[in-house]
Amino acid sequence: MAGILSDAAVQEASEVAPEAPPPVAGLAPPPALGVLLVAWLFAGLLLAFILLPLLQLVATPSLASLRRAAGDTDIASALGLSLIGAALAALLSATIGVPLAYLLARTRFPGRATVAAIADLPLCVPHTVAGIALLMVFGRRGLVGRPAEALFGLQFWGSLAGVVVAMAFVAVPYMVNAARIGFEAVDPRLEKVARTLGMGPWEVLLRITLPLAAHGIATGFALTFARAISEFGAVVILAYYPMTAPVRIYELFLRFGLDDAVAAAVLLLALSLALFVLFRHFVQRVAPMPGIGR
């Protein structure tokens, strides 16, 4: 399950390692023509499988219907809620996920493998199942929901808090795994040297470890955000209202049919893609992989 990110991430990690051996691919002989042809055939199928539905979707609505959808306050507020919810879910995931990632990368403790597996668990829980499970704990009579309402007046069912909790539940494994890979790529010898140069343990964490793991953490943030903004199943059960964009689109589809849902779907797609590109850019600029020289 730690395999989600693995290929790209493992390669990143090896690039970070000082004096890493050249990647094996560089030494491999070029594949034979027949192998290339077959590989490209399947690769083409894959690309078509991803792009065809999305392009068809984008090409369908007229400009007028898009403009109408963008002006629809319900759709606009659903998009806004999705944005805010996903951002808060990513922040929450970073807050609770980064310390665990650090522990998993830097310490050995009994049950470590189990802890890592628990952190990955949401990946294999069907999202509606996750939503029902969350409802039982965060609902009005739940283990967390009841005291939260009594003590802080905080309600999860049918609220922004519920949206955030549902999004964070399904997205937090991406944060933990990406950040863990980030921390694992930090050479512990650098931390040792920093100590002998006069830094205390907290200063080493802030000035050496975190900056060097920043690429992994930022990648985790972007993935978590992307996963959160696309979540439907868990959100729809814990917080049908206030409606996030996917829930709104689903409702439009059920009540008015495909044509009305399409315009809103294109808008959500555009927003998600724009943010994805923005985050990638941000990660490269603000937290470039150490070892890739400027």
């Binding site: 970070v16 000082p18 004096e19 050479d187 010898r189 650098l190 040792k192 040297v193 920093a194 100590r195 002998t196 140069l197 006069g198 830094m199 205390g200 000035r207 050496i208 900056p211 060097l212 150490p290 070892g291 890739i292 020289g293 400027r294």
Partner: protein
């Protein structure tokens, strides 16, 4: 206990199944101690303990006369140089050095770092990222960074182990010069004998968590205290024989029908009839075409048939059968002039003080 330098006073430490056992060392100002040992002997753990990453179970560590046993690494004033020099990859060369200038504001630290880089002839590297530096440049930046924190002790943990031989030779010479001038004591961990021969004032040899021999470098290399150490130090000739009393009353070392002259032994070791091991470095054996001189107490004169010979570039090793197997090492040119060839009989001369006796030992 010396006021300056480093002293380990009976340091012991248990780490899982590994243990450091009663380490005792003293290094004076400006001295370099090379800590030799096979992989897993505990050299790095010893260094990390001195740096403060492990707390000893017993014993004291004194750096510059201060007892630092209870201090964390950041208060020990040690400069740590690790394999490939471990520069911070997210900081420029100057920023790396500036990290060493603690307790100054950013601008001051930066200016001090640039001044220090200039002293290392590396001011042009100030803005460079470490991954764009050559090994030699990295070493200079790492030394400058360590020096910036005004260390009272340098600790080197195999800094050259990832380098090719040529670079290694160049950096080693540069480092020796730097250490000589800085007068800061240093411990250098390695398993490369050349490092020890070039850098060391003192050598200590570790085996399974303990120091099994220490002393002046030349002394340790010439007089290993046990056969295991002799093997580790690459002594070419370990001869299994016994001490015998000659009619003239002197002790000799009998091996394979020959009797080798030995330097006078301490009374405790000088017991005839005892089995013993003789250590002879190949470079101490002189070869000639004819027996040169009449027998005397200063050297043994033998004859041997050449079994094999091996060229090592500028040097050449020759294995002789003198009734026992004897390896000699000579300059390639001398070997050529002697016209050595397998099967030929040559004379070998071994100075008595080159025969180091380990009494009471036998080869396993």
């Amino acid at each position: 206990m010396s006021a300056r330098g480093l002293a380990l006073d009976g340091v012991s430490l248990r780490l899982g199944s590994f243990a450091l056992r009663d380490l005792r060392l003293e290094i004076g100002t400006g001295e370099v101690l090379v800590l030799l040992g096979a992989n897993g002997a505990g050299k790095s753990v010893c260094l990390e303990t001195i740096a403060g990453f492990h707390r000893p179970d017993a014993g004291r560590i004194l750096i510059g006369g201060r007892d630092v046993t209870a201090e964390p690494p950041e208060r020990r004033r040690v400069g740590l140089l690790l394999q490939s020099f471990a520069l911070f990859p997210h900081l420029s060369a100057a920023e790396n050095v500036a990290v060493g200038f603690r307790g100054r504001n950013h601008r001051e630290a930066r200016r001090a770092a640039e001044a220090l880089l200039a002293r290392f002839g590396a001011e042009h590297l100030a803005r460079r990222r470490p991954q764009l530096l050559s090994p030699g440049e990295k070493q200079r930046i790492a030394l400058a960074r360590a020096l910036a924190s005004r260390p009272e002790l340098f600790l080197f943990d195999e800094p050259f182990s990832a380098l090719d031989m040529e670079t290694r030779d160049a950096l080693r010479d540069e480092l020796a010069e730097f250490l000589r001038r800085s007068q800061i004591p240093a411990i250098f961990v390695t398993h490369d004998h050349t490092d020890a021969l070039v850098l060391a004032d003192q050598v200590a040899i570790m085996e399974r968590g303990g120091i099994v021999q220490s002393g002046r470098a030349a002394e340790v290399f010439a007089r290993p205290a046990a056969t295991g150490i002799a093997r580790f130090l690459g002594v070419e000739n370990l001869l299994d024989g016994r001490l015998e009393q000659a009619p003239d009353g002197r002790l000799r070392f009998a091996v394979g029908g020959a009797a080798l002259e030995v330097a006078p032994l301490p009374a405790s070791a000088a017991r005839a009839g005892r089995p013993a091991i003789a250590c002879i470095r190949a470079g101490e054996v002189r070869l000639g075409r004819h027996r040169a001189a009449p027998p005397d107490a200063g050297a043994s004169h033998l004859e041997g048939r050449i079994l094999s010979q091996r060229s090592l570039g500028p040097l050449c090793t020759v294995t002789l059968d003198c009734g026992f197997r004897l390896v000699a090492c000579l300059m390639a040119r001398d070997a050529r002039e002697l016209g050595l060839a397998p099967g030929a009989v040559v004379a070998a001369q071994i100075p008595s003080d080159a025969v180091h006796i380990l009494p009471g030992e036998a080869l396993g």
